[in-house]
């Protein structure tokens, strides 16, 4: 099981224009990971592993259909290739990092007065294409809200 907690993310709360939508955007998610499932919690970094959807601050569950951590090809097969020349017009790699959007509207609106939130993600590999303890790898987490 992987536990990851963000630094505080600030958001704007305006009672005259209440939040009608909120989402976490995981940016640059590595696709060369095992398929996994994950739970998202807000302001509860020590949420127990077995808290499930009843845990305090529960916001969402999502899954990721990952390519797998064990490359079946020869050496270098799953590396992200650079263009070999300025004239290289081949399509980009299907393994390029992805962005994943996780809606958290209901959970965030309950914390709207706080105007900042820490996000904790617990992730478990499904177990069929790798068992890495850290299946979730990404560059940035963005919190977006809409009124």
């Amino acid at each position: 099981m992987q536990r990851w907690t963000s630094k505080p993310l600030r958001f704007h709360h305006d009672p005259r224009a209440p939040i009608k939508g909120a989402a976490l955007e995981l940016i640059g998610v590595d696709q060369r990971v095992p398929s996994f499932t994950a739970n998202v919690y807000l302001n509860n970094p020590k949420v127990p592993e077995d808290a499930g959807t009843e845990g305090r601050g529960y916001a969402a569950t999502f899954a990721f259909f990952g390519h797998g951590e064990d490359c079946w090809g020869d050496e270098g097969h799953c590396e992200l290739p650079d263009a070999v020349s300025p004239f290289d017009q081949r399509a980009e790699s299907t393994f390029q990092p992805a962005n994943v959007t996780v809606p958290i509207t209901d959970a965030l609106t309950q914390l709207a007065q706080d105007e900042q939130v820490r996000v904790t993600i617990l992730a478990w590999p499904v177990g069929t294409n790798g068992s890495s303890d850290e299946p979730l790898r990404f560059d940035e987490l963005m919190l977006v809200t809409y009124s």
């Binding site: 569950t61 999502f62 079946w72 399509a91 299907t94 992805a98 962005n99 996780v102 499904v126 069929t128």
Partner: protein
């Protein structure tokens, strides 16, 4: 002087084929699909089941996920695979798995040739750790929410743009793969499972219905003229399912006309 005479293309009466809900197929339709899949599995060249299954994962890896080409690529994939089946039986169509209503794998996919298929990739080598057959563990992972995923579908339907719809339906798509478990949860082997095609028909159907309610909402312009490998068909060419010869119907019935 040489005169080249060009014969007019023969007029063909084009009748759309309707993909139907898997759980509503008649016994005869299930039998037809099962027999066609079995026949496709017996073809060992690039018209057969193993060849098309290999487009998605091992060995070709032409699929796109978590990407703007996710929906167009899989629509084209279903189109070419369905044509390969219709070469065997012109009346067969791919059914859709309604995971917004069902809490389990559709019944036709629980037995026989639709329950599991051999895995024989088009490669010159075979790794010792590769599975020989597809298998599933539906609903066994307690951390994956149980089916049906009606709410995720409805949230996707409310998406205001293609990009947003693509993100939201991907969320449901990934969950269904992981809920099904086994080789279906691994992109390398998922398409070898006959259930894969019905899962993606449902995703494709969702896109088609969303398109119906959002006429003119297109994938990003940058992608419209991109070919969907390995074929030359472009994103723009797969936007209208009726141009691909199929549609989705809750039911479809015909009666003889005056002829």
């Amino acid at each position: 002087m040489t005169v080249v005479a060009r014969v007019q293309p023969r007029a063909v009466r084009a009748v759309l084929k309707h993909r139907k809900a898997a759980h509503k197929l008649t016994d005869a339709e299930v039998k037809r699909l099962r027999e066609t899949i079995k026949a496709a599995l017996k073809i060992s060249d690039n018209r057969g089941y193993q060849y098309y299954a290999g487009w998605h994962g091992v060995p070709f890896e032409w699929c796109w996920h978590h990407h703007p080409l996710f929906l167009p690529w899989h629509r084209a994939y279903l189109y070419f695979f369905e044509l390969s089946l219709q070469r065997i039986d012109p009346e067969v169509t791919l059914p859709w798995w309604d995971w917004t209503a069902l809490d389990d794998v559709p019944k036709p996919f629980r037995t026989g040739a639709l329950a599991s298929a051999p895995i024989k990739p088009f490669t010159s080598v075979r790794r010792s750790n590769w599975p020989d057959r597809t298998f599933r563990t539906p609903g066994e992972n307690p951390r994956v929410p149980p089916l049906p995923y009606r709410n995720l579908y409805e949230e996707a339907m409310e998406a205001p743009s293609f990009t947003s719809f693509n993100e939201r339906i991907t969320e449901a798509h990934d969950l269904v793969h992981v809920w099904t478990g086994g080789t279906m949860s691994d992109p390398a082997w998922a398409a070898y499972d006959p259930l894969f095609w019905s899962h993606h028909c449902m995703v494709d159907r969702a896109w088609r219905i969303w398109q119906h309610h959002h006429p003119g909402a297109l994938p990003p312009a940058f992608y419209l003229d991109q070919p969907l490998r390995p074929r030359a068909i472009t994103v723009r060419q797969v936007l209208d399912v009726k141009q691909l010869g199929y549609d989705y119907a809750q039911s479809a019935a015909t009666v003889p006309g005056t002829a």
